[in-house]
Symmetry: C2
Subunit: 250 residues, 2 copies
């Protein structure tokens, strides 16, 4: 009954790799996909370089249900995503009639010149389908299982809102978080035994550090409510059985 | 005279891909490397999965001067980075004597049990060199050009502070940022011409969106001060020559 739906993301842009711009799209996509039960398996951040984009997109689209890209679809010379995606699929890249007319009308209505630079935003791989952009008109696009979206967070989020309802959703991974006042070192051994005894769950342990002491968030995930409940119970029993001095000494 | 020093990063952790934890290490590493003239070329975020870690590390270490990893070096069963790095280099992974004694002493001094889980943090690939961890003792490590560090931001940053001074620095990329009240669509054409005329520079154009209107940050980068100054001047001249109505209509 359960069907695994996986995804990967390619973030395109020198500005992220230089540190000038701090990415805000990875966390948002991760949250959205988790909410609908799609496993985000890998993210790659690559520079504005055609070979790098093609390599990442081709590696990831072959082994995932979906690939989402952000960045590089604007009007300037360093926006090379449309050409790179066309190259990855070995399709020609040119002006898309529908996108061209849409942008022509958009700018005419605002008395803004439909410059050659702006016309670039109508270019996409042959046969691409549009992803609607309610903010600045220039559409994103989809080719097969690759969704090409803007890097500006407000536009990316608006485009993604149009995409998510069209995706084949997976079986949602349900999770429960158990805060532990004990540090990882105190619980790592028994937690590993619990993981081994509950193979239908994925038990994550996340060290937290605050004001000079360590504590741990234990997250149990599963596609089965029964399996989740059993593992959560085992973790609770383990924590209760810990010697109290471990808590104090954190 | 100029030597290109490149780097890649591998972020390891299911919690980033699920959205539960928002990464804060990518931007920090990017800033630090840019400051010392090292080009961060690619970042990959992979899950706590040995095959995924091995593939990413091996692909990236072959084509970069340095690779930096974060995450997965704690004491719990889901911390598999040490084993995965050992596998990537085809080396055995076992207790490192020096790390074992360091941790034994660290915990003895705090009257904390040196549990089997904590002993895991002394495991590393044979021949690895330590990266000092001033916060929680358990060291990161280096194998050849791969630097393996913690995922907890405070510890990652402390480890990185120890690593950066040992790196072969590149020729620093200098940059100048020119804010443009004009949106990308208005300047994209002439900006592309300026890029073509100034091949020793990399001109980036970053669309900004605020309160319903678009503006642009133009960033000119170069390893040569002369080339930078010439391109910046050309951008300034271009902006001054723009029809003023483009500004108003943004």
């Amino acid at each position: 009954m359960s069907e695994l739906v996986t995804a990967a993301m390619v973030v395109i842009g020198d500005e992220i790799l230089s540190g000038r711009t701090k990415d805000r799209n990875i966390g948002h996509l991760a949250d959205m996909l988790t909410a609908v039960g799609i496993d985000l398996r890998e993210v790659r951040i690559v520079s504005d370089d055609e070979a790098a984009i093609v390599e990442a997109v081709n590696a990831l689209r072959a082994r995932n249900t979906y690939v989402f890209t952000t960045g590089g679809i604007g009007p300037t010379h360093d926006d090379i995503t449309a050409d790179s995606i066309a190259r990855a699929f070995d399709r020609p890249c040119g002006y898309d009639d529908k996108a061209y007319r849409l942008l022509e009308k958009h700018y005419a209505g605002r008395d803004i010149e439909f410059s050659n630079a702006r016309k670039r935003m109508a270019r996409m791989p042959e046969g691409a389908e549009h992803i609607n952009n309610p903010i600045s008109a220039a559409p994103g696009f989809r080719v097969e299982n690759v969704y090409v979206m803007a890097g500006v967070p407000a536009i990316f989020q608006a485009m993604l809102d149009n995409v998510v309802p069209t995706l084949r959703a997976g079986v949602k991974l349900i999770s429960e978080t158990i805060p532990s006042p004990l540090p990882e070192g105190a619980i790592g051994g028994p937690l590993g035994e619990i993981q081994a005894a509950h193979p239908e769950t994925i038990i994550g342990s996340y060290p937290k550090y605050r004001d000079g002491s360590f504590w741990t968030e234990i997250v149990v995930r599963s596609r089965s409510e029964t399996a989740l409940a059993a593992a959560v119970k085992a973790v609770g029993t383990m924590l209760e059985a810990m010697p109290p001095r471990q808590v104090a000494k954190g």
